[in-house]
């Protein structure tokens, strides 16, 4: 049964959505605006919204001081690599849980999710020591593995939820037609689940892109991604907000653009299963 929505209510809902959206976006907008101010304008009171002398000086300073492209490339490799590796491992796991569940499947899923509740700093030293032993400190490969492991529970959960929406009879039919397990997953399940996999990939790419604890603690020079780039402009002793804002804007720009062009998939991925 569908509920009729009056035009007035629709307008109110739209206005409310815009207000909430703008509130959420405001810190990002403020960061972008601050990046075009001088340091003095950045801390002016009352704050300057648009009525200031716009300058690109902060971007020039950041560009001169840091090798932005190196940080960006590392972010792309680490976020992309960990996401792809995670999906490769999570698809078979989610398939098994969705289509051949055991008595303990729900428990395993909850256990996997519970690992996300472990404070990262609690395992910093063991992982750091393992990285030293394996020569993985300050390597992109090492971070790809760590970030994949961190995000794996979310990837499995998302794919599991999505796979559960796919009728098991279709896979059964494929099996009856002689498809092997590999063929069933690769040629039947995966194409049907492409929208779900795409939104999972996008969300995990963003999570890996924004991850700051491990990327700061396990890198130095060669593998340092954009989180390290931002951290190098933060200072508790000195007002460098305009430069920090410029660095932050440069760091979030790629992910903002990606998010803008893929917002439909993202919303779909975050809401699937929510409305039956």
């Amino acid at each position: 049964m569908t509920r009729s929505v009056t035009p007035r209510r629709k307008t109110l809902n739209t206005a409310l959505a815009w207000v909430i959206g703008l509130l959420i976006f405001f810190p990002i907008l403020w960061t972008i605006l601050t990046s075009f101010k001088t340091e003095a304008q950045a801390i002016a009171s009352p704050p300057l919204f648009l009525n200031f002398n716009w300058t690109l000086e902060n971007y020039a300073i950041v560009q001169e001081r840091s090798d932005y492209m190196r940080f960006l490339w590392n972010s792309v490799i680490i976020a992309g690599g960990s996401t792809i590796l995670g999906v490769i491992i999570a698809v078979p796991a989610a398939w098994a849980m969705a289509f051949v569940p055991s008595k303990r499947t729900k428990d395993i899923l909850l256990w996997m999710l519970s690992t996300k509740m472990l404070p990262a700093v609690g395992v910093l030293y063991p992982i750091y020591l393992v990285f030293i032993r394996l020569g993985l400190l300050d390597t992109r490969g090492g971070l790809v593995v760590v970030l994949m492991l961190i995000n794996l529970p979310i990837i499995v959960w998302m794919l599991y939820t999505y796979f559960r929406e796919i009728p098991g009879e279709i896979l059964e039919a494929a099996r009856m037609d002689g498809a092997s397990l590999k063929e069933e997953i690769l040629y039947v399940l995966t194409p049907m689940a492409i929208p779900g996999i795409a939104s999972t990939v996008l969300l995990n790419f963003i999570l890996a892109w924004n991850e700051a604890f491990w990327t700061l603690n396990l890198t130095a020079v060669d593998a340092a991604p954009l989180t390290a780039f931002i951290a190098s402009y933060s200072s508790p002793e000195g007002l460098f907000f305009a430069k920090l804002s410029a660095a932050s804007t440069m760091a979030i720009a790629p992910i903002l653009i990606l998010g803008w062009f893929s917002q439909k998939q993202l919303v779909r991925g975050l809401t699937f299963g929510a409305v039956k």
Partner: protein
Amino acid sequence: MYLRNALRAATAMTLVATAAAHADTLTIATVNNGDMIRMQGYTDKFTEATGIDVEWVTLEENVLRQRVTTDITTKGGTFDIMTIGMYETPIWGANGWLVPLDGLSEEYDVGDILPAMAGGLSHDGTLFAAPFYGESSMIMYRTDLMEKAGMEMPEAPSWQFIKEAAAAMTDRDAEINGICLRGKAGWGEGGAFITAMSNSFGARWFDEEWKPQFDQPEWADTLNFYVEMMNESGPAGYATNGFNENLSLFQQGKCGMWIDATVAASFVTNPDDSTVADHVGFALAPDTGLGKRSNWLWAWALAIPAGTQQEDAAKQFIEWATSKDYIELVAESEGWANVPPGARTSLYENPEYQKVPFAKMTLDSILSADPNSPTVKPVPYVGIQFAAIPEFAGIATQVSQEFSAVYAGQQTVEEALAKAQAFTAEEMEAAGY
């Protein structure tokens, strides 16, 4: 066969080239502040002179502290030089984690390092880190507001004078707060300030037996005085104000006085950033007449982690970066006001540097701080705004959170001190003191 030999030769050459490249590149972890960033700009001069490349890892202070601590305690070997402070140096030196900085060249003139700095960066008389710049804390005040209040700032005022002056300068309608002080939780933020202030009230963290002293009247006197003065003349929300928040307020003309790091002097007198640059005076941090002032002592210094493969190159860099020549280099290019302060005696003997308005007060503040005798009563620890023991950072962070809760009006001074006493006693006992 020819191809195989050619491949072997190429591989060998690559390995040699890689090893050579590695041997000639130093990785340095450092903090993001004006002096350190400036030094990065001059690194090419060092590379030109020595052929040694430098890779910088610049991090926010707290992130840096965690990063280098993890690396040195696990012998990670990621960095060849680390930027550390007076808190870490004696502890790490005692643990054998740092390379002693002996055998420095004669031209370097290690005896020129200010004794307070050298003392704080040594263990058992051995220097383990070379100060790049040093700082103490002092009063920065608005000369125009002080005059308007009909008062005159002494060169070495008492806390009572500061309290009265703050009340006289406060003008809530004009959004002027008589005094701005740190209240933010964190051992290096509000914790550092209140510890330095408590020294002038005769308080101490531990007695000679390492027993916490928060149950003594000196701590209650310190906190009650601070809270009363700040509630009367401080800015709203001072419980969350740290260095940057107060700097921002002062630069916008909203503070009559600000007691904080001497390094802030160059910011508040810079007309590009400060609206009150022409009306700033300086004075020594206040006291209560007990013989100790409330100024601290800190240095950002360069140290070499034990186990680095590039000890000689690292020493070469440290000699260059903390030398008299480096100071001259910066002065030539950017003026004397921009040289790293607080590290060398010769800098303060230089007539050109003596013209910098805050030079004398910075030196006087540094010279009046004694990390080996920080407070009125004897203490078993070294350090003014900290106690140089490994447990201090964790304990002081917790204690400063309790104090910040008092500033925010969430609990009383007595409650906070009782919690601080209980927590510190428990932690110290667990640590085996």
